[in-house]
Amino acid sequence: MTSNSEEPKKPGVGQIFLEELNNQFKPPKKDDKKKGVASQTLLIPLLAVITGLIIGGIFIILTTEQVYAAFGQSFGAGLAAAWDAVSKAYSGLFTGAFGDPARMIAALQSGDSLQIRRAFNPILESLVTSTPYIFAGLAVALGFRAGVFNIGAEGQIFIGAITATFVGYSVTGLPGIIHVPLALLAGAAGGAMWGFIPGWLKAKTGGHEVINTIMMNYIAFRLSDFLLTGPMKRPGSFNPVSPEILPSAWLPRFFPDPIRFHLGFFIALGIAYLVYWYLFKTTWGFELRTVGTNPNAAKYAGMNVTKNIVLAMSLSGALAGLAGANEVLGVNRNLAMAFSSGYGFDSIALALLGNNHPLGVVLASLLFGTLRSGATRMQLTAGIPNDIISILQAVILAFIAAPAIIRTIYRLRKPTVEEAGVTIRGWGG
């Protein structure tokens, strides 16, 4: 088995505790060494995003036929065409994400409420897109904090959506105030179950959670395929789609159509605060993080490593399940096959971009949600497929994961204090 001598030295439990006390009682600003780290933890994601956008721009130029044609005429025309392509794409992205300022002003002046709603819809739609990202990003981040890599958020989202949908259409006669929380809870419970199994297997048998959660993903897909073509199929429908969720289980929307902005966004923010409170303000959270940083030290300090791993995976699954529940109850109002569009894998990028901190995850989710939402419009106006966002995400994630690259590009100094990395081991350990 792995010899411990090879692994970098982990801080002991006492050391972690002392650092924790430091953080509690001494604001990090006064500590010079800490300051370097703190500024870089903000600077590196920022630079990563900017670099990602630049690389995305280069990519757009390289894949636009008109640019090549223009370069064939003259160098200046080529540059102009390149600039044109990028600016068209990114302005499409911007107006798609935040709305067109000119249109907003015109709508406000006209005073027509439908016009106003349409003009302001993009920015609210970005928030709608961000909401599942917040839940899923929190799910992965919480797992990372406990040293487990929940790569199976996708499957947990599916199961959460299934259970929430089921409660949403099968339980009748409840008032919304009970039905909505019940459906959300069902979603969380479904996801938690899907996270519990790999967590339990990891803690009891050492089966690596990465493989197990990937397997659970496929089992979830097959299960939902079965349910949507069988027991949960909408009567009379030829498509694999569930019955419509009852209005009493809908997450309330704040504005009339076409604005889909719903309560889920605020629930997500509330949950993010809860996760923050749990991780950083409670003894349980401290245990969870200690198990994540150094399971051996945690064990010697009398903490129950098994329990914490299972708990972390279950909580992580519950959060992912909430993402699924939120989507079906707030946006789709039914469950169809292929409803989750890669939230599970994107959420890994979110957790890392947000440095596994709830606040960071919320900000990262807002960024990615905005990009995704804006990309739909960019696809229409500039003809750039919205898959460019995945490329951006990958590039950003690459820079976050290997900050040395960003430091080389921007000639930053290496921080004096070792930054907190992700502690995930291979299959063996």
Binding site: M1, T2, E6, E7, P8, T63, F149, I151, L201, K204, T205, G206, G207, H208, V210, I211, N212, I214, M215, M216, N217, Y218, I219, R222, L223, D225, F226, T229, G230, G342, F345, D346, I348, A349, G383, I384, P385, D387, I388, I389, S390, I391, L392, Q393, A394, V395, L397, A398, A401, A402, A404, I405, G421, V422, I424, R425, G426, W427, G428, G429
Partner: protein
């Protein structure tokens, strides 16, 4: 021959021979016997006959179908399972337990087939052909994983490398109208992505699972982008020539076996060749010993003068080439066009097959066949009119992988330094 003894030690599985395990296994065999009787035999007509086709309509010599009296066959199978269970409970098969387990499970699956075809007919050659072709990308994915992980680098980016290989081979194949050039470019694409994975995980010592995720997200985005922007707009860009089936002279005329194994396309033959080469290369050559040494104990390997970084780069890039090759199977060997996310998770299943096969090429192939068989059988369930939803059948390989990973079948041998970046002192 120090290397041979070492290699045997390296891939020896550690079978638990605890009395509890012996009893559990014995009870499991009896349970399967009971299941054959309870679920299959009881619901079958006394006079029903199960008919298995042994040649497709293309075969030169048409064989008569193999006909079995359903009920009696099921009784025999149940009794054989029960006898195995009895022996396991009383004496135990000791180190052969896992082999017997495989036999009993195979008997159970055969019993299932006999039951499912009661009063109907099922073409076994067709079923095994599907199994084999479905096993190709999974097995090649497993080989890719084995190459990387034997040297100590976890590669969950097989999926992304496959997807990129599939896209590039379709694009280049269409542009040049030459399948071989397409194939070559797919392999090179896999190598390029693997090199990136190597730079991240070997040079920058990034977490290898995250690095793999980056490549997966990137590959999904890139292939879908190119597909949406060009390949769907200009159909000429998505029309590559494909590798057709080749019949190997003489061997192809052997009844049953000839049709299953010797009438196939390039990818199936290549898979067999790769399995053999990799099996020998890993366990019988100096290169293989070095790769495994680097994956087990890089520090010791370094001390003995093996260049850890170089060995890892080589293995990872070779693994990437294998994944790129597997990707070309989807477009040049099967569909004849590229569709967005067409690999549909085969890379991840390849990873599972690698674990299932205990990081051994032949084991990976066996696991690939298992997954392929489930796929092939599921597609025939509807034709046979079986009421069990095929989705549950398709779940079984995943569940089996989780069981294997949990160590129920015996502790697998994970390369000890798998996933741990090497720091040179």
């Amino acid at each position: 021959m120090a290397s041979t003894t070492n290699s045997q030690m390296f891939h020896k599985t550690f079978v638990r021979e605890s009395p509890v395990r012996q009893r559990v296994m014995g009870a499991f065999f009896l349970l399967l016997a009971l299941a054959i009787w309870f679920f299959f035999a009881r619901s079958v007509d006394g006079g029903a006959i199960s008919s298995f086709g042994l040649s497709t309509f293309q075969a030169k010599t048409q064989l008569d179908p193999w006909e079995l009296p359903t009920l009696n066959t099921l009784y025999v199978l149940a009794i054989v399972c029960a006898v195995f269970g009895g022996i396991q409970l009383s004496r135990g098969f000791k180190k052969y337990t896992n082999a017997v387990l495989a036999v009993v499970v195979a008997i159970f699956v055969f019993g299932f087939l006999v039951w499912a075809t009661a009063g109907k007919s099922l073409n076994l050659v067709g079923l095994f052909n599907t199994t084999l072709s479905k096993a190709v990308p999974i097995t090649l994915g497993a080989l890719s994983g084995i190459l990387c992980e034997r040297s100590g680098v976890v590669n969950i980016a097989i999926e992304g490398m496959m997807l990129s290989g599939a896209m590039v081979s379709a694009l280049v194949g269409s542009l040049t109208q030459n399948a071989w050039v397409g194939l070559l470019c797919a392999v090179l694409t896999g190598a390029l992505l693997a090199w990136v994975h190597g730079v991240f995980s070997i040079k920058y010592k990034t977490n290898q699972i995250i690095s793999g995720t980056v490549i997966n997200i990137f590959a999904t985005g890139l292939t879908s982008y190119i597909s949406a922007k060009f390949m769907q707009v200009y159909p000429a860009l998505n029309n590559p020539p494909t590798f057709g089936a080749i019949a190997i002279p003489l061997l192809a005329d052997i009844p049953v076996i000839g049709e299953i194994f010797f009438v196939n396309n390039l990818f199936v033959f290549a898979m067999f060749i790769f399995i053999i080469i990799l099996q020998i290369a890993l366990f019988q050559t100096r290169w293989g010993l070095r790769v495994r040494a680097v994956g087990e104990h890089p520090k010791a390997a370094d001390t003995l003068g093996i260049d850890v970084f170089k060995t890892r780069y080589t293995s990872v890039i070779l693994g990437g080439m294998m994944a790129g090759f597997a990707g070309a199977y989807f477009t040049l060997g099967s569909a004849g066009r590229f569709d967005e996310v067409m690999t549909a998770g085969r890379g991840f299943i390849g990873l599972a097959a690698m674990i299932f096969g205990n990081w051994i090429p032949t084991g990976g192939f066996a696991a690939g066949l298992l997954f392929g068989f489930a796929d092939g059988l599921a597609s025939r369930m509807a034709i046979l009119g079986i009421t069990i939803p095929s989705q549950f059948l398709l779940m079984l390989p995943y569940i089996a992988t989780m069981i294997v990973l949990a160590g129920v079948i015996g502790k697998g041998h994970v390369p000890a330094a798998d996933g741990i970046p090497y720091e040179k002192e």
